[in-house]
């Protein structure tokens, strides 16, 4: 069920109406029923039910046992066991092909004539999210930062809270515990603000992301015809497509939760204003970053192995450089895991793992030298132009990596990169050629204006919530903006299914 589909809209309206009319005490049960319906929507079978039950029971039972034997060795054993079961089902359902491909490569390398065929696994929606969320639940109970949930149905709601199943954000039990089970009153203020956030999310997806998608799909689908400047525009638009789709989904999710009365952590903070890739990842998919920091990176860095390595390296390479080696090793492991989490294919590991790791290490190593050079030749690093250059550089580096995120294979990624080097600048200047790749002049105009609006809103959000600012304005201005947003979605939204620009509503005006 897509977040921008009519079915999802109807589903949410129905769920919210029932939620707010039943007695407060049982409102969480409505959320649970909605979540279970959403989880098994179009995918209800014994096989998928068993998948969900395995994760739920592992988290529920081991959570209670970890707490019961708190501060003993048993507690650690139960924690590890619970985590292993959840990881095993995740690997089996999502990463079997990654292992098979790797095995095939290795056999091929040694000229062994074995070739595994790929398998199809019917995994539940949101498996990557709820698996990690339940792992964090077990670790938090183990660390004593929260108490386990004794009611299995409440535990099931925490695992399956429906808005976050498709795109996150990653939540922590201690932050959700109160909000999730407490029956909330419908507040007019939350309803208005939630709806505005949902509209903004829908605008991002239907007006910007879908439109970018038409161009990107056309170009990447036929690199023989569309290359050079076409590819460059597609690479840039793909990053915007990805961002608006992902952050738009998060806006819809946060909006729904705000109406219910559940606070979720922010997942994006104007990432394209970041000066470096390091800063970019503090503003992009923030909750995944903090999940990995708290549950992978910190324990790794604090482990005896890394600490011993730290000491050895400091003795050999000196204090400053010595500590970098174990740090980079932990970061490499973490970034590889980020890549793997994004999808069970090497393209994802390269795009959102290894390349990001290389960027961050290079920034760390070259940063001080670049600062010195800037000082020496007198570049004002506080000037707007310099910050713009830094943001553009970050955007382009990230866009380059995302070539592999979109590519069907590493070979396809290299093919896309090669196609950039075809010389055809007239594509951008002759006023006709560019408009043959899925988007015409009109669409490009809509897209450019929408992207400018997006960047203005993102820019404003850096100094506090844009909605708060909007709701402080006078009623006329406030509603003018809201109506403009609604009409922009209705008139300029791309509604998929056999997209035919000529048949579009706005063409008839």
């Amino acid at each position: 069920m897509s977040l921008t589909s009519l079915t999802f809209l109807e589903f949410c309206i129905l769920a919210l109406i029932i939620y707010f009319i039943v007695p407060k005490k049982i409102r969480w049960i409505v959320l649970l029923a909605s979540s279970v319906t959403f989880l098994f929507w179009n995918n209800l079978s014994v096989y998928t039910v068993i998948q969900a039950i395995i994760v739920l029971l592992s988290a529920y039972i081991f959570g209670i046992l970890i707490d019961k034997y708190h501060d003993t060795r048993k507690s650690k054993v139960f924690c590890v066991l619970g985590i292993l079961i959840i990881i095993a089902q995740l690997i089996y359902l999502k990463y079997t092909n990654l292992f098979l491909v790797t095995a095939n490569h290795i056999f091929n390398l040694f000229n062994i004539n074995i070739n595994f065929g790929m398998v199809t696994r019917n995994s539940l929606l949101g498996i990557s999210y709820y698996s990690l969320i339940m792992i964090s639940y077990l670790i938090d109970v183990y660390r004593g930062t929260c108490k386990p949930q004794k009611n299995i149905l409440k535990c099931a709601l925490f695992m399956s809270y429906f808005p976050i199943l498709t795109s996150g954000p990653f939540v922590r039990y201690e932050n959700m515990e109160k909000d999730l089970y407490e029956g909330h009153k419908l507040k007019y203020d939350s309803l208005c603000k939630g709806l505005v956030r949902i509209l903004w999310g829908v605008f991002k997806i239907l007006v910007i992301s879908q439109r970018c998608g038409y161009f990107v799909d056309t170009v990447y689908g036929d690199l023989g015809t569309y290359n050079g400047c076409f590819t460059i525009v597609a690479v840039i638009l793909y990053t915007i497509q990805l961002y608006t789709n992902f952050s738009g989904s998060i806006d819809i999710i946060m909006g729904i939760s705000e109406i219910i009365g559940i606070n979720l952590p922010e997942n994006f903070k104007a990432p394209f204003f970041s000066k470096t890739i390091t800063e970019f990842w503090r503003n992009w998919h923030i909750t995944l970053g903090s999940w990995l920091r708290d549950y992978i990176f910190y324990p790794l860095q604090k482990s005896n192995f890394i600490q011993k390595l730290n000491k050895k390296c400091k003795n050999i390479f000196g204090k400053k450089f010595g500590k970098k080696i174990p740090l980079y090793l932990s970061m490499f492991i973490m970034w590889t895991l980020i890549g793997i989490w994004h999808g069970g294919a090497y393209t994802f590991i390269i795009a959102s793992g290894i390349l990001q790791f290389i960027y961050i290490v290079l920034e760390d190593l070259l940063g001080p030298a670049s600062e010195k050079i800037n000082k020496k030749i007198g570049i004002n690093t506080e000037a707007f132009s310099y910050k713009l250059y830094q943001a553009l550089r970050t955007f382009l580096l990230f866009s380059f990596a995302m070539i592999f995120f979109r590519a069907t294979s590493i070979g396809n990624g290299i093919q896309i990169i090669k196609s950039i080097f075809v010389y055809n600048p007239w594509v951008l200047t002759d006023n006709t050629t560019l408009f043959t790749a899925g988007l015409d002049l009109y669409d490009f105009r809509v897209l450019i204006i929408s992207i400018i609006v997006l960047f203005i809103v993102d820019g404003l959000s850096r100094s506090g919530s844009v909605r708060e600012k909007l709701f402080k304005q006078n009623i006329v201005f406030r509603w003018t903006i809201i109506y403009m947003l609604i009409f922009a979605i209705l008139i300029f939204g791309c509604y998929g299914v056999g997209y035919d620009p000529a048949a579009f509503i706005y063409r008839q005006f």
Partner: protein, 81 residues
Amino acid sequence: MDKSEIYERLNNVFRDVFDDDEIVVNENTTSSDIEDWDSLEHINLIVAVEQEFGMKFNMGEVTKMKNVGEMVDIIISRINK
């Protein structure tokens, strides 16, 4: 060991980890007050503090600590055990 002594020793640890002799911490100091105190350096700081005071933070504390004041409270609760 009283609080002022702990802060004195913490100052030395912070100065050593972040290579900055000017650092003076107080209970309200947070990672945003010290330029290099990011998530990458956080663990190095934690380990250095553990070594200085001969105690261990648990992972829950490592991730939840909000400022130096909370760090000092944990140190006091451990060394007084």
